[in-house]
C-alpha cells in the first residue's frame, strides 16, 4: 500500500471570499511543493472551476471535483465526487436552489446575479433553499461523499448552527480545519474524521491534511480508505 497526503477542501478565486491569487496554476504548484498528492476543489455552491484546476495539474496531482453547499440552515456541507457528470448534476441543482433563495430574498433580481461576471458574484456563498438532509441526500444519490464541513468551527458548521447532527442525516465523514485537539471528542459521533485546510489563500494549502493508506490515489480507493475497507485507512495529520 501507498501513503498519500490529501487536502480535500480548497477554494479557487471563484469563491467570493477566496483570495484572487487562488488560480488553477498557482494552486497546483503550491500543493505539489508542499507534498500534497490529492486535492479537492470545493468552491461555495459551484463545481464550476474544478475542471480548470485539473487541466492545470495535467496528471501531476490528483484533483477531485467537490463543492461546499450552504444549506438553508446556513450549514456548510462538502460534496466530493469521483464522476464529473454526477458532480455537474449536483452543481446544477444547487445553482437552481441558490437562484430560488436569492430570488425570494431579492425580488426582481435576475437569475444569474451570483455568477462570476454577473452583477452580484459576492452572493455565491449565500444560503440555498436546500436543507442539510436534502444536500447530503443529493450528494450521496449522485455517488458522492457527504462531509460535515469544518465541524470544529463555531460558524457555518452543523454543530455550530444546530448543536447536533439531525436524525436521519447520513454524513460519510466529518471534517476538521482548525486544530487536531478536538479529534477525540469527535470520535463519539462514530464517523470518519478528515482534516483539510479550507484554503482561501495559497498560504493555507496543506496547512491541515489527511493521510491516506491505499493501493492507488484514485477516487474509488479514497472512498474505501475513508470507510476503512480492506485494510485501507486514513487519519488526520
Amino acid at each position: 500500500m501507498k501513503r498519500i497526503v490529501a487536502d480535500l477542501h480548497i477554494h479557487t478565486n471563484v469563491s467570493p471570499c477566496a483570495s484572487e491569487e487562488m488560480v488553477p496554476g498557482a494552486i497546483v504548484q503550491t500543493a505539489l511543493e508542499r507534498g500534497v498528492g490529492v486535492i479537492a476543489i470545493c468552491d461555495h455552491n459551484t463545481t464550476g472551476n474544478s475542471n480548470r484546476v485539473r487541466e492545470a495539474a495535467s496528471g501531476g496531482l490528483v484533483v477531485l471535483q467537490g463543492m461546499e453547499i450552504t444549506t438553508c440552515e446556513e450549514v456548510h456541507v462538502l460534496g466530493l465526487f469521483g464522476d464529473d457528470a454526477q458532480a455537474s448534476a449536483v452543481g446544477s441543482a444547487v445553482s437552481e436552489s441558490l437562484s430560488e433563495a436569492l430570488g425570494a430574498r431579492n425580488p426582481g433580481e435576475k437569475e444569474d446575479i451570483f455568477h462570476k461576471g454577473g452583477s452580484k458574484p459576492e452572493l455565491l456563498s449565500s444560503a440555498t433553499t436546500m436543507s442539510i438532509e436534502e444536500s447530503v441526500g443529493i450528494i450521496r444519490n449522485n455517488g458522492g461523499l457527504a462531509v460535515a464541513a469544518h465541524i470544529d468551527r463555531p460558524s457555518f458548521s452543523v454543530l455550530g448552527q444546530l448543536g447536533f447532527i439531525p436524525e436521519g442525516v447520513k454524513f460519510d465523514a466529518v471534517e476538521i480545519t482548525g486544530s487536531y485537539s478536538c479529534c477525540e471528542e469527535l470520535l463519539s459521533l462514530g464517523l470518519p474524521v478528515i482534516a483539510s485546510s479550507d484554503s482561501h489563500s495559497l498560504w493555507d494549502i496543506g496547512r491541515m491534511c489527511t493521510v491516506f493508506e491505499l493501493y492507488a490515489p484514485t477516487w474509488k480507493e479514497i472512498v474505501l480508505a475513508i470507510k476503512g475497507r480492506g485494510g485501507r485507512r486514513c487519519w488526520v495529520a
Binding site: 438553508c72 440552515e73 446556513e74 436543507s131 442539510i132 454543530l159 455550530g160 448552527q161 444546530l162 448543536g163 439531525p166
Partner: protein, 117 residues
C-alpha cells in the same frame, strides 16, 4: 402576558398551535436567535422565540428547549411538513412581516423580557 394578547398586539398570523385554549398560556420571557445551538444553550424555558430560520430542526430544538411559541420574522413561512410537525407537538408557530428587531422591540414594550437559561 397571555400568548393571545401578544398575538393580537403584534398582529401575528397563526401557522400552527394548540388551539384557542393554548393561547391562554402566560409568557414572561423572549429570546431571539438564528443559531439553534444558541437557542438550545440560552433560550429560557417557556419563552417566545423570534427567528428567521424556518426549517424542520427549529421544531426539534424548540421542543427540546421548552419554547412556548415561535415567531418567524420578515415574512418567513415554513413549509407544510414543518407546520404539521409543530401541530403534532402542539407548538405555536406565528409569522409576521416585521423584522426580528421590530418584533423584539414591540414585545419588550409589552413587558416581555430576556433571561438566562
Amino acid at each position: 402576558m397571555k400568548l393571545r394578547e401578544i398575538k393580537q398586539r403584534l398582529g401575528l398570523s397563526t401557522l400552527s398551535g394548540a388551539g384557542e385554549g393554548g393561547l391562554g398560556e402566560d409568557v414572561r420571557f423572549g429570546h431571539s436567535s438564528d443559531l439553534l445551538s444558541d437557542v438550545l444553550a440560552n433560550a429560557p424555558a417557556g419563552c417566545v422565540l423570534v427567528t428567521i430560520q424556518v426549517h424542520m430542526n427549529v421544531i426539534a430544538v424548540a421542543m427540546h428547549a421548552g419554547v412556548a411559541a415561535v415567531i418567524f420574522s420578515s415574512g418567513m413561512v415554513p413549509d407544510e411538513e414543518v407546520k404539521k410537525k409543530a401541530a403534532e407537538e402542539k407548538l405555536f408557530l406565528f409569522s409576521s412581516q416585521e423584522t426580528t428587531f421590530t418584533i423584539v422591540g414591540r414585545m419588550y414594550e409589552l413587558g416581555i423580557i430576556g433571561a438566562k437559561r
